[in-house]
Symmetry: C2
Subunit: 128 residues, 2 copies
DNA sequence: TCAACTTACATGCACGTGCATTTGATGTCA
DNA sequence: TGACATCAAATGCACGTGCATGTAAGTTGA
């Protein structure tokens, strides 16, 4: 009835769903319980640390949006939450006053470094 | 600095995120645009057709919940939407009046059969 | 038989998301 | 210049979700 390739594709999708669901749920609850961070908040910090190495702080919202699976509006609100929590700062760009430069605060750096170990542990558990 | 296994785990997670996001977004929008179905609604129909083969209609809410990555409350509301759309019916079980038997209507069966080809095409595109 | 517990499902509520729109700044071209 | 398109980001809104709780039906044990 069904070509074998299609059966494989369904099985592959089921497996992807399973792994994604289990991993992201545990990431979400562990990061929330241990570090008061949502998963998307953590991911913004993660990208920020990669793009800000050496304190050049080049990370604009648009740069982060391009690296994340999050809409522009959702990112905007996630950044607002992180700012209210004192973990990042928004600075207006001098050369393009439409754009925001995002920068980790010392508190944000500390929080991220703690959370990083939790994140790594959960990934190892589910994907290792 | 980092053990190679951990780098692999991060890359694996990125890849899982990418595949999951791209596939589920396209499933969602295609199913919605072509068949007026959400992804979780489609998945309920999918499980229902598997469990109801030969019109035995044994599918209770709890059975479906066990096969899906959806909370009990979300499933309850998804079933309500499907019922309002005339695609399934709820019948009270004679032996346990707490439980619902779910059954596809002819309209639900037709809608599902149309949507199935869209679903299969999207999966093949992303996972084939 | 009755009180306490458990189960199946529904519902109130808060929250994060995407879409559409708005606001304000930056090109662009006549 | 000035009118118009484009862009970055914020915001109003509707929606689906999970958590906690409610409701009604079934189960257990003394």
């Amino acid at each position: 009835m069904e070509a074998p390739a299609e059966v494989d594709v369904c099985a592959k999708w089921s497996e992807t769903l399973r792994v994604y669901h289990n991993t992201s749920c545990e990431l979400e609850s562990e990061l929330q319980a241990r570090h008061a961070l949502g998963l998307s908040e953590f991911e913004v910090l993660l990208i920020l640390t990669r793009n800000c190495s050496g304190h050049t702080s080049k990370a604009k919202m648009k740069d982060i949006e391009a690296e994340m699976y999050l809409s522009q509006s959702a990112l905007s609100r996630t950044v607002t939450r992180l700012e209210k929590a004192g973990l990042i700062t928004r600075a207006v760009c001098d050369f393009d006053r439409r754009a925001n430069f995002l920068m980790l605060t010392p508190a944000g750096e500390a929080r991220f470094n703690e959370a990083k170990t939790t994140h790594r542990a959960v990934l190892l558990k589910h994907l290792g």
